[in-house]
Amino acid sequence: MKHVDTPTRPGEATSEIPDVEVTLNVNGDPYRMRLDSRVTLLDALRDHLGLTGAKKGCDQGACGACTVLVDGKRIVSCLALAAQYDGREITTLEGLTDDGEPHPLQKAFARHDAFQCGYCTPGQIMSAVSLQAEGRAGTDADICEFMSGNICRCGAYPNIRAAIRDVVSEANDASV
């Protein structure tokens, strides 16, 4: 991945780097921070709050490893400036557990061995949580289409689909 990291323009002092005051509501708790305006939501979560569930894969919005929910909707946090999400409700993988009890999708991923290296898994699970809320997990074709923003380079797709199918059909059974 290409990264052009230029901390300052020639002649500029580091003290002139603009910063912003941001309050992020993450997994129900507010965090007030003063950040370099360039800090992405992903970097704020990982480097400033120590929430390393969201992963940095491509850092250009192509792989989905950094997927989090904002006001209940999934986004890629690497293409989001933290400042833009001031005051918004953010849910990361860490926020899925209920009193230490894993989310049904987390359990299903473990049960179905829906990963190899595991790096894409948090993003896959956040996306799957969102997929279920969107009502788009009805068929395998829909699962494929609407999970396509999450890349798994190990190729665990069949088991990822099985895990999602499992939870969705359970939920459907329960609601009958």
Binding site: K2, D5, R9, D59, L79, Q84, E134, N150
Partner: protein, 329 residues
Amino acid sequence: MRPFEYVRPAETEQAVAAVTADPRTSFLAGGTTQLDLMKDGVLDPQRLVDITRLPLKGIMHADSRVHVGALTTMEELAADPMLRERLPFVREALLLGASTQLRNMATIGGNLLQRARCRYFRDPTVAACNKRNPGSGCAAIHGIQRMHAILGTSDQCIALHASDVAVPFVALDVVVHVQGVDGPRAIPLTQFYREPGTTPHIENVLKHGELITEVEIPLLPEGVLSHYLKVRDRVSYEFALTSAGVALQMEGDIIREARIGLGGVGTVPWRAWSAEDVLRGATVSAESFQAAAEAALEGARTLPGTAFKVELAKRTLVRTLETVAGASS
């Protein structure tokens, strides 16, 4: 990424004034193109004006038109029930673009202003790019061209406009409403984009600081069917090699009116006017569809890497016409 100042004005007027006043200040909406290009060092604004909290969000239906606030996201627009019922090809084009995550961020205004996916434009270590650095040449013309344009190109730029939803939008004569410091104006989308010619760095008719506030979509007459077909290198989450957005108004097997947009082929979202002329009044047949496809691709200029697109684009259009006419009968 270079340092920049981040500001979030409360009023549209303030945002427009702030960007207009300074050539190094840019609007920031969904950020999916802007931040990506800033990370890569292609864009280098000194100040970003976050417009995402301006009151430019939401969908309104009135007088056979859908008024879409520019900050409405792609997912929000795709969920509009009127689109599903009356403009299925717009909905299809929206949902075949990007991923759900990106569609939850990307706005309709930003979609229309998305920058070229040309890998040479997006890589500042490549010296020759007339779009990034006017007068420096075009690396793509001597490079790998699979994802480049064959219509509306010049010898200075062959970068493709990669929007899916802009394809049905140009076919529908969508109108773009913009706000500048001198007031608002309305621009038909078919007159919004500029082909590269000798100035590939100028992509549309907006003045610096003018802000898209609304996209106005005219509904098609009731009973008009439409379809968007996208052909790509993988089945999902990929840009189009070719695509077609078609709406046909039928009377028996006579085509009364045709609207055709093409994607994956043009330096701007491509309205296939000549193909529409061929089909207006024609009878549904393999011959008339083929004639329309030939007319649509007339004047295509290919390079070794894009030569395959002429036949692929014709077949994409013919297939889309067959689908719409088949569903109408």
